[in-house]
């Protein structure tokens, strides 16, 4: 499994991760960011892309 962590002190709800990796990142009904903290290896490339797209550099992938 791949670990995903979003630093919510940095996150500004730009929503780029939601655009790039909609399976792993979503906005809930209250516009709060929800995301999978562990994703399967197949999703690694997608969450890494989301981390790259984040204007706040708030997403860490391990």
């Amino acid at each position: 499994m791949v670990k995903v962590k979003v630093d919510m002190n940095l996150c500004e709800y730009h929503g780029q991760c939601v655009f790039v990796a909609p399976k792993e990142f979503q906005f809930d009904d209250n516009d709060e960011l929800v995301y999978s903290e562990e994703v399967p290896e197949e999703a690694r490339a997608r969450v890494e892309k989301a981390a790259k797209a984040c204007p706040q550099l708030a997403i860490k992938v391990e």
Partner: protein, 425 residues
């Protein structure tokens, strides 16, 4: 489902392709042929007359953006020397109340950059700004359309693209409509001076406007200190106790960047979107069938016609990029317009293709890394609201054949000076 795959419309005149210095009117009208030639022949190309290195490949642009410790942003916005070559303009700037002038954000390097970026991000908070303003923006867009809907045609730039971001800028700075159009004039002059290769008069006007703008900001700062305000400048002043407050010079520089960044590129973004819809057969129908595709329209337009075509960096040491030796203190033009069509990453990159997967390869329109556009979410939302409302009110948009579109004259901002569109409703 019907597929719309229309070749991009700008004709590659041989003159443009010949002029890889990107300075001729033909190259400015359509630079993409020249970009393609640079990518093919010499992907990192030195222009001796401008003492400038054009970086044209996606991978090299991304590498430079991702390594701010190797590349300085101190002159990120200008290919020329802005004020440096104009003693009269420099003389005017000596009267500035904010000395020494301060570089922030887009023009700053770590660690100062991070300090300013955090404060601006907090003050500009896209989430907060959009929650507060999105419904108003929609009403305002409807208002712009009300003014021309009966005539069956509109001039997109002045009647649609400019009023929308200016409405948002007026909300962010909490100023009147009259004031915001003054600010637009200042912004135009600042921007023109920055792009380099312009007449002295423009640079002198920009210097004069800089002083007027400083007074505007500093008056507002004084007001906000007296009566705390939730406008952008008011928020800049609300510093946590463990952080040093911003200096006047920093506040002025930040505000000028938010002003210019908040309108210039968004205006062209919106015009490009309308142009694409009006000039691409079948596109309007596809967006109507499935309005969720408006997001794909935005991303593909940003890739295909990034409003800001380039930014600049300076090498901090001698180095090698893509096999090319580059000296210390060299000025690099990071060409987003070219990177976004790089054949290594994009098949038929010159084509606008609504079905292109822009999640697969992320375009460079907003840059990347620590300097990535802080207003990109706001810009995207403006574009989305603009197109949503436009399609809900107008039908069968097409380019007017009596007055042809006029492209921007300045290199660097891809968009239109004027764009006449007709419609049914």
């Amino acid at each position: 489902m019907q597929h719309t795959n229309v070749k991009s419309k700008c004709p590659y005149s041989s003159e443009a392709v010949d002029d890889i210095s990107l300075l001729s009117p033909a190259a400015r009208a359509c630079p993409y042929g020249a970009y393609a030639r640079i990518r093919a022949e010499e992907p990192i190309k030195y222009l001796a007359d401008q003492d400038l290195w054009i970086v044209s490949k996606y991978e090299d642009v991304e590498y430079i953006l991702s390594n701010p410790e190797k590349f300085s942003s101190k002159e990120a916005l200008s290919s020329g020397n802005a004020y440096r070559d104009f003693p009269k303009a420099l003389e005017i700037l000596k009267q500035s109340r904010a000395q020494p002038r301060q570089r922030t954000l887009i023009l700053a390097d770590p660690p100062e950059h991070g300090f300013h970026r955090k404060i601006v991000q907090r003050a500009l908070s896209p989430a907060k700004t959009l929650r507060a303003f999105a419904p108003t923006i929609e009403a305002r867009v409807n208002g712009f359309i009300d003014k021309f809907i009966e005539t069956g045609r509109f001039e997109v730039v002045s009647q649609f693209s400019i009023p929308l971001p200016m409405a948002l800028v007026s909300m962010i700075f909490d100023v009147s409509e009259e004031q915001v159009y003054k600010m637009k004039r200042w912004s135009d002059n600042f921007f023109a001076a920055l792009t380099g290769h312009v007449h002295e008069e423009i640079v002198i006007n920009a210097a004069k406007d800089t002083l007027v703008f400083e007074n505007f900001v500093l008056d507002r700062v004084a007001q906000c200190r007296k009566t705390p305000s939730d406008c952008f400048i008011g928020r800049l002043l609300q510093q946590p106790e463990d952080e040093r407050p911003l200096t006047d010079a920093e506040i002025i520089n930040i505000c000028s960047q938010v002003l210019v960044g908040g309108n210039e590129s968004t205006i062209n973004f919106i015009s490009n979107l309308v142009y694409q819809i009006a000039s691409t057969i079948g596109l309007e129908e596809r967006l109507r069938e499935d309005p969720a595709r408006i997001e794909d329209l935005l991303e593909e337009s940003l890739r295909h016609e990034p409003p800001l075509q380039a930014m600049y960096r300076i090498t901090r040491s001698e180095m090698e990029i893509g096999g090319v030796r580059i000296p210390k203190a060299a000025k690099l033009m990071l060409n987003f317009g070219s990177a976004n069509r790089d054949e290594t990453f994009y098949e038929d990159g010159d084509e606008f293709d609504l079905d292109r997967d822009n999640r697969e390869t992320l375009h460079m329109a907003f840059g990347r890394g620590i300097h990535a556009c802080a207003g990109q979410t706001i810009a995207r939302r403006e574009g989305k609201i603009a197109i949503n409302v436009l399609l809900s009110r107008l039908r069968n948009l097409r380019i007017a054949d009596d007055i042809p579109p006029v492209r921007n004259k300045l290199f660097g901002v891809r968009g239109f000076q004027s764009l006449h569109v007709i419609f049914d409703h």
